[in-house]
Amino acid sequence: MILKAENMIKSFGKKKVLKGVSFSMDEGTVYGIAGENGSGKSTLLKILVGLWKADKGDFLIKGKIGYCPQESLLFSQLTVDEHFRYFSAAYGLAKSNWQSQSEFLLDQLNFRQYRKDKVSDLSGGTHQKLNLSLALLHQPDLLILDEPYNGFDWETYFRFWEITGHMKSQGCSILIVTHLLSEVNRFDRIYNLKNGYLE
């Protein structure tokens, strides 16, 4: 088991968003969490990666996490390559490791031609490609993705599933949060977050 969450509760003021969320994930699985806008999906992910604290409940994660936030969190004045360098320092990766992985991601997601461009000069789709690539740079054991394919064209969307399929085959677990689930056969399990509970 790579992730186990038990009875997670989170409120914002009087509004209870998570009322007791429990679930677990095994190695090499792809899980989806669906739910309407405002149902608490992103809140749950932010708690799992450590950005927010749950009011109650506990969770355990084994291994390295890769997190792709819903909104592209990038430095507008830095280039694509500089992002890879900055985040590789955060992950503590050796130069040879992050360079080969960034080359792989630039090719797989088809944005090599923008590597020297500043983020402020890139399109929304390319922002999202970089946003996702930064989560994959250190080859994590658990990938937590919040609406990862927003803004992707069809080709990139299929490339995304190729990459995640490859990672899954290597034992990586992938948790995808989305408000719109298509191709349910790609998931090992799908939860619906409704009224603060996972169904």
């Binding site: 996490i65 004045q77 360098r85 900055y86 320092a89 503590g92």
Partner: protein, 254 residues
Amino acid sequence: MNVRRIMTSLSMILRMLFRRRIVLILLVVIPIVFFSVVAITTSIQKVPFRIASMNGKVFILASEKHMALVFFAVAIAGFLMSFLAMNLIQKNSTINRRLMVCGYHPLELLLSNLLALTLMILMISVYVGLLTAAFFHVSHPGMMIFSLALTGFVYGGYGLAVGSLIAGELEGILFIVLLANIDAGWLQNPIFYAEAQNQALIHYLPAFYPSQAAIIAAFTDYSGLNASLNSLWYGLGFLAFSMLIFVIKMRIRK
């Protein structure tokens, strides 16, 4: 603490700073515009005033123009540094948290920001100090530059505190302009200070000791040690406060 992480972050922060046109415009243009306005508008009439930080024992006779140049040099250094410091901390706070999820420690990011800020303080104080010296003969240019660096340190600390506490850019700028304008841009003017009804209040404002150090360096051969030390204490206070807020706000749960 990882040196590679700190140095990588420092290098990225400096790239981001120097790629922003508004930063370069602020750094280069504001001092020249301010000094030119002072040079054009002030008179060369000599005015006597006393140095407030030396218990009123020392009187100076200096031209209004020269005094205004020193006074504005302090105000420029204070305003620029507080704005840059606020911007540095505030602008990237959300993405900095992402970097922390990926492995950065809050202190590593804070330290890289402080190093970038130190470089900016040195750059601005040297530039503004040399510009001041270009307009009139400063008694001790090195000490004058040092006192501008102290202003940058005090007001940089204030900018960091504002940037750590306040999320909105506009609100942050308002806080900075308010204090910089009232304190460094008005109350610390020696002519105003000499006749002020409540001088004690002016003593406790952040620009008091740095402007005193600048006046001592520009016009006298006296030691500005006392004013410099007090500036350092003031700056350290702001710095400690902003560091505390930064670490509390930025920490993540692992």
